[in-house]
């Protein structure tokens, strides 16, 4: 089965670039920006992991739930604005590239430099190898 890619924007995102052929005068700030981006991504991943699935609607039918239609991909990553060096040696953000605005979404504050993630992806079904004694299907352990 094809593995779904629920982050259609992830591969298109261009986080930070440096102009070609120039000395990397802002390399320290470049690294800091990369680390900040990675930290934000980690925080969002934790939020997705801990928030849990959306609540199904309707009354439970006494332990006989019906499989529901899968929900569409809801999340879209918007690329961060590009950092470019200034003549004074610092880095400034350019205006972010245009992106598709989801219906009903409110724009971020001006000058924030970041797009707000509107919603989170559901857990994914993935294809895995058949379990074996070298790779057990699951591990029984105390609750954690």
């Amino acid at each position: 089965m094809k593995i779904e890619n629920t982050y259609p924007g992830a591969q298109r995102g261009c986080l930070i670039t440096a102009p070609r052929g120039k000395a990397r005068s802002g390399s320290v700030d470049h690294v800091k920006a990369l680390l900040t981006t990675g930290a934000l991504a980690a925080i969002l991943w934790l939020w997705v992991t801990l928030a849990g699935p959306e609540d199904p609607s309707g009354e439970a039918t006494g332990g006989t739930p019906e499989p529901l239609a899968s929900s569409p991909v809801l999340m879209q990553w918007d690329p961060l604005p590009t950092l470019v060096p200034t003549p004074q040696g610092g880095l400034v953000r350019t205006a972010p590239p245009p992106s598709v605005k989801r219906k009903g979404a409110s724009p971020p504050p001006a000058g924030s430099g970041l797009r707000v993630v509107q919603s989170l992806p559901p857990p994914r079904v993935i294809q895995v190898p058949v379990p074996s004694n070298q790779r057990p299907a699951a591990v029984t352990r105390s609750s954690r």
Partner: protein
């Protein structure tokens, strides 16, 4: 083989179906919603759960949903089967121990030490009344319910029962594991048994294992004090309460793993073995031919009941 992982009931969950069909994939995508629906009814950590609404209304007949009805029946069966060791009216003791919220939110050192007597209401499970004609429950005054492991085991059994229509299925509910039958190739499911000892060998990304169980049906569960524990006043505390004292059980068992016809039975039996201690717990297992168990003692010794066949368990 398809798999989905998600978080529910305070644990990591995993559901697997040995099939590549789109119908199996669609069923797996529904599993998180099933657990969310059950958690909304059965969790004591949600103020608006059906369980909490029942807890807040003792002394009257309350009609309940079928999931809560089924889990409550299992909880009362467990209390009788375990001779009062695994009881649903344990909530006052859990709260006294500081476990009044989802475990990851419990601050260390939360246990309130002191001279508290055994909390009231622990024995009230004997006075709970059920009316199957109206599916109603009567909680006596002082009875407050926590369905914890029973609810988790029930959910795993339910999920596997629904998934098996799409192929051989396995559900791992935070370490309580249910399987519907052998895998599609006819082989039993290989289930790792975690090694709780501090110096257990581990490979990258995988817990250290005592060995691999091979089971074709039923369930396996592990109870232990190797994870949910903390220190207070120089004493170790953990979340497995002995109803007879109302305090964390004093036992030489670090973890107890039991294989049974269903996950609920495995869950209850694992707790019983833990509470009884290694010697009495293994003796109790010998009186139940449908069960097999493995005990890891705090001194590192690993013991197995006579029905824990080494053909099924390879380290």
């Amino acid at each position: 083989m398809l798999e989905i992982s998600f978080r529910a009931m305070g644990c990591w969950m995993k559901a697997m179906v040995d099939s590549d069909s789109p119908h199996a994939a669609a069923a797996l995508r529904a599993v998180p919603r099933w657990f969310a629906s059950w958690e909304r009814r059965l969790s004591r950590f949600r103020e608006d759960s059906e369980l909490n609404r029942l807890n807040h209304r003792p002394g009257r007949w309350i009609r309940v949903s079928l999931p809560l009805w089924e889990v409550l029946q299992l909880a009362l069966w467990a209390a009788r089967w375990s001779d009062g060791r695994v009881i649903p009216t344990i909530l006052p003791a859990l709260e006294m121990a500081g476990y009044d919220r989802s475990f990851e939110k419990v601050p260390m050192g939360r246990y309130r030490s002191g001279s508290e007597d055994r909390p009231l209401g622990l024995d009230a499970w004997r006075l709970i009344r059920l009316n199957p004609e109206t599916r109603s429950v009567f909680l006596p005054d002082g009875a407050r319910l926590d369905l914890g492991g029973i609810a988790k085991g029930w959910a795993a059994d339910q999920a596997v029962r629904h998934l098996k229509a799409y192929g051989p299925a396995l559900v791992d509910a935070g370490g309580d594991i249910a399987v519907s039958g052998p895998m599609a190739n006819g082989e039993p499911w290989p289930i790792g048994v975690a090694d709780p000892r501090p110096r257990g060998r581990a490979s990258f990304g995988q817990p250290a294992l005592l060995g691999i169980l091979r089971i074709s049906s039923g369930g396996v569960a592990t109870s232990g004090r190797d994870v949910r524990r903390w220190r207070h006043g120089g004493e170790e505390r953990h979340h497995l309460i002995d109803p007879r004292t109302g305090r964390p059980a004093q036992t030489d068992v670090l973890t107890a793993t039991v294989v049974a016809p269903t996950v609920v039975e495995a869950e209850v039996a694992a707790k019983v073995v833990f509470l009884l201690g290694s010697r009495e717990g293994l003796a109790w297992l010998e009186t139940h031919p449908e069960l097999a168990g493995l005990v890891v003692r705090e001194d590192g010794m690993v013991l197995a009941s006579s029905r824990w066949s080494m053909d099924l368990f390879k380290s």
